[in-house]
Symmetry: C2
Subunit: 175 residues, 2 copies
DNA sequence: CGTGAATATTCAAAATATGAATATTCAACG
DNA sequence: CGTTGAATATTCATATTTTGAATATTCACG
């Protein structure tokens, strides 16, 4: 029975490598300390992701031999990895179900890495939300069946809540 | 790259078999027509689920030979299957991320099968939501870090929206 | 008579997730 | 001291899920 956690994470490992090169175990600790509240990633899963990223040429590893320990691989971003990450960071998430994970992760990196462009992303994300709300309303008006309307109303409510949250999250960080 | 759909569905196939026995393809059509808007289930995935349910003894199949076609398997609920389904139906969902799918499905079956007990389920679900909100507020008060607070506020907003929706969804169905 | 859609199911393969296995160091406990 | 358990670090085999292709028949359309 598979855990009901959010699907595979976005280029988050790339983001964690933006600050500096790290090896797998270190990434895991850092991840759990910060983004771990948003979703779970097992240690061996993390290594698997890392391998995929390496195959895709987005990260590269340097073996670091250690006296009397198995050598560890220190991963760093390739230029392409950096590009992919920065590109991902700017994109609003098109679906509600990804917001919990994707949007949170983006927000985290904007703050953590002190990158510019957060207000623009939020503005774009709000636009996406408004479009979704309109769409749900239109579909609800056309809907011939009660259940469909209920589903659409549920979703609209969720997106509206996200929109309100987006409005607040540009306010001064200290509260 | 895996599709970002909601995790594996709850005992929904059991629910579809409550009305009457059906074979796989028929279930798929019925599913897509109704609950298909809530999440996606591929045809071969559905057959896989069916197989699991059969192994678990919750459904049983009867081969129905057809002239000049491959025989089809008509599935029906076993008494245990029926029990499991009815038990599942009464339970509120403990996590926000399951609401989109689980709660919607339950609601659908309550209406579709004309079963009693919906107001009780909704009351219990609201209780769960209120408890979650309190928890988020408590954690946010304790939180030492901004990002954590933002995440918790996002979640609280989502649960509050769900709560408001639950309030409305007992109103007369016709609107 | 060929083409594509609908009916119906199975199977192999790819992608993901889980958990165990391996190996070393260090601190604490009695 | 010896050993037990936690922390460091990574790999691998297996289980589970998902996808897509393969198979086979009928029917409607032009």
């Amino acid at each position: 029975m598979r855990q009901d956690s959010a699907a595979l994470p976005p280029p988050v490992l790339l983001g964690l490598l933006m600050a500096r090169p790290r090896h797998g175990y270190e990434l895991c600790k850092e991840f759990n300390r910060t983004l771990g509240q948003v979703w779970r990633l097992g240690l061996s899963q993390l290594y698997a992701q890392l391998k995929q990223l390496e195959d895709a040429g987005l990260v590269a590893a340097q073996e670091e031999p250690q006296p009397s320990r198995p050598p560890r691989k220190v991963y760093h971003l390739t230029p392409e990895g950096r590009e992919v990450f920065l590109e991902w960071l700017q994109q609003p998430t098109p679906y509600l179900r990804q917001m919990r994970v994707d949007l949170m992760a983006r927000l985290y990196f904007f703050r953590e890495l002190g990158l510019p462009g957060l207000p623009e992303l939020i503005a774009r994300q709000k636009e996406v939300c408004r479009a979704q709300i309109e769409r749900f309303e239109r579909l609800a008006a056309e809907a011939d069946d009660d259940f469909r309307r209920l589903v659409l109303e549920f979703r609209r409510g969720q997106v509206e809540a996200a929109l309100r949250w987006l409005d607040r999250c540009l306010e001064p960080v200290g509260g």
